[in-house]
Amino acid sequence: MVMDIHLNNVRIHIGRIVEEDEWEPMGPTPKPDVLDLRYWDQKLLERYEPFYAPMQDFCNLCTMGPCELSRNKKGACGIDLKTQKARIVVLACLIGASAHCSHARHLVEYVVEKFGRDYPIDLGKDVEIEAPNIRLVFGIRPKTVGDLEAVLDYVEEQLVRILHSTHTGQEESYLDYESKALHVGMLDHVAMEVADIAQIVAFNYPKGDPDSPLIETGFGVLDAEKPVILIIGHNVLPARNIMDYLEEHGMENDVEVAGLCCTAIDTSRYDPKAKIVGTLSFELRAIRSGIPDVVVTDEQCIRADTLKECSKVGIPVIATSEASARGLPDKTNENIDVIVEDLASGRLKGVLIRDPDKVGEIAVKTALAVRKRKGKKKVLMSREEVENEVRKCTGCGRCVFSCPHCLRIDVAMGLAKKGDFSMFKEIDRSCIACGKCEQACPKGIRIVDIIMSVGMDIKVKGRSRAGRGPITDTEIRKVGQPIVMGTIPGVIAAVGCPNYPGAREELGSIIEEFLRRRFIVVTSGCHAMDLGLYFDEEGKSLYEKYPGVFDGGGLVNVGSCVANSHISGAVIKIAAIFAKRPLRGNYAEIADYILNRVGAVGLAWGAYSQKAASIATGFNRLGIPVVVGPHASKYRRAYIGKFWKDVWWVYDIRSRKRMRVEPAPDALLVCAETKEEAIVQLARLCIRPGDTPQGRQIKLTHYIELSEKYLGCLPDDWHLFVRSEADLPVKMKDRLLKILEDEHGWKIDWKSKKIVEGPIRQYDPGFNPTIVEHVYEKYTGEKLLR
């Protein structure tokens, strides 16, 4: 679809595609403009009313402010508090989506430059639907990396248009800002898909391989005996160049390359010899350990004091991204040996190198030179130093108040003074190493160093499976039906960041519960890394225990943040492959299908970033609910359905009726406070109106069992999901029928053990629900009066 015409150096690419490639008829909304899917959003927002929890009572986005908006007052521009909060949500999503979009732009630009626009997009025979998000939204099948450029042009244009709408004096309804946030979320998945496809095809990452290699993961990969290059961020290009340089020079065993954050994942997809230290929560720890000999940063989720912290312990920094230049001098075009000498000698604390292909040599040479100069590395504080620090503590508690998790450092210090250091171990399990306690401490105590030194297991090592990229068409063909029927009880997508509410192990224990119950679990990003550090009694990580296949009981790591697009992609492919719904430019129909029938739920237990906000919002527009950890309440907005309201209806294409349905799922974005809650919510939100009795029975069984296990009782609302006795868990049937009769006043025919009266609706095998008028009209051939 893209052509390269060379005319006096003028390169041309296609801007607007009206379309000549007739692989599938075009749906109603290719390249949707800002308001083109507003009708779909209005459907969602009618059910899932945005819920706002302001972080502040003020707005100060323009100089007519600050405006005090408490109790939904209006500011000087006329905006009310709800609308203002929705506007902030749009901004957050825009920041997130633009991060992925720029990341994609970098990759595509690089790949086009190296391999040309015609470089084919080939994800293997088993991934014929190569780009479900792009097909669905943009309406093309991308065939070459050049095609991806046109997709990014579109995404960028849309993002700027929506950013425009956040100017003072625009929307006056929060619902319109929400619709825009949903649009941004959708675009984000498209951008992520572009990014991951580009890197997979160009760098030959695993292409949907369930047996992708196992990668060493954990703080223990930082090897104090060797020169260590620590790479941090999200953009694989400089890291890849380091791996290439080492290989070209036969130095793979001489220098350790360890990654933090998504760069770590993507480097290991490129080269399984790369190692993963862990998430953002380990960045300060890794630097403070003094083990790295050089730190290479690219972009996103990198501490904004990396240079300052590295300088304190004498680690030179190589910044490589336009987004994080760190105030460093641009040395891209200078002599490499001079740069290395400047860095190794400490004359320069760091440099900016704007060409990823120059980073390998500089990083490796610097690591070697630094290592030589430094000699044996000192790791962690000694016990004596710790004791000296602890002694300074006055117990004032400021650290506690500033800690995102209110960890009781004051108490731990008090105990430590008496020689009991055990509480720091406990603190370490929940500490995200943000450093705020140190900022707050009036005594300047090196709290993070103490926690590390006393509490952390620096030798810990696990294994995580390298990101495999897309789910194959074959897998979808196999599981599509069971998922839609409900006999695979759900797909749990554990995606996101490390801002957990409690101990890091909680994530693993949640996930294992679902793996044991043979849900499908997919994961990505920081959650994927942390799951590599959740061990059973034998010390096996979850990846070693559960296969990497997209099937019940499988644990699938798709890859870094941008690989989240394969999760939305897999869900889209269920509609395409199993239900044979056309994808092309057909967003609302597919999202509607997913909402009503595909029991997929996201879990972002530590969601912290604007990217996470945007990704979740993209899942939401596609009809996929997301359960988030409690910190995510600070995103300010949730989508909570009201089961007590009359918004739970569908059109049934079969019976041609508008009918009431069970409130399933009854939230699109909701915070759980504890892992117990999260588990129950996840099971609950897998229920869909489209479940067959067999599927519903299975789902209800899990829901009820988990509720009894973790909450100590039957769920409050289980009866809402019962359409007939066939939906009831077999083993509990009598008991449940009795409750239906006694507590809910249903009529039961005890002879046949049948429900005579009570349910919201009857189950009908031909039930074919939709909430979208044009979908109803398309399949019934009947016009609805509006």
Binding site: S633, A638, T674, D716
Partner: protein
């Protein structure tokens, strides 16, 4: 929650006796409990006593339901998270006073108190361990657990 005082008006700190007065004056009060109860028997015991003596309705979130149910507390809802419960309180307006107890994620409670402050008319009292600026009334920060428990006991005593 030092960093969370970007409010137009901070909660009035409140003493146990006043909590009881307000409970007594309320038409239909409710207690909402959080995940902190999972690891704190004394809080569970407090709820048990409170319900026994004051007949208070209880909505359990955060998995606190398990602990409460095992201690024979009668909970009106057990499966919904704080988000749902807050939506419920706001929308149905069944209660005129809500007490909050035992949230292990005080920042989550803080957001919900903010939602209730701005978008509902319900009175809110936090009887959690940490001061909650977005509540209408709140216990102060208790740096020592024992002092906190004492404050709770005082509520029971005055009841």
């Amino acid at each position: 929650m030092i960093a969370d005082v970007q409010v137009s008006r901070s909660a009035t700190t409140i003493k146990p006796k006043i909590v009881v007065n307000m409970l007594n004056r309320a038409k239909r009060p409710v207690l909402i409990t959080g995940g902190g109860l999972l690891n704190d028997e004394r809080l569970v015991e407090f709820v048990y006593e409170l319900q026994k003596r004051a007949g208070l309705e209880v909505i359990a979130t955060g998995g606190s339901s398990r602990a409460l149910i095992e201690r024979d507390v009668n909970v009106r809802m057990a499966v919904f998270t704080l988000h749902y419960v807050t939506q419920f309180l706001t929308d149905l307006q069944e209660y005129d006073l809500s007490l909050f107890l035992g949230f292990r994620a005080p920042y989550y409670l803080s957001r919900m108190l903010s939602a209730l402050k701005h978008f509902s008319n319900i009175n809110t009292i936090s009887i959690c361990e940490w001061y909650q600026p977005h509540a209408k009334f709140s216990f102060p920060d208790f740096r020592k657990k024992e002092e906190y428990y004492k404050a709770l006991e005082e509520i029971l005593e005055v009841l």
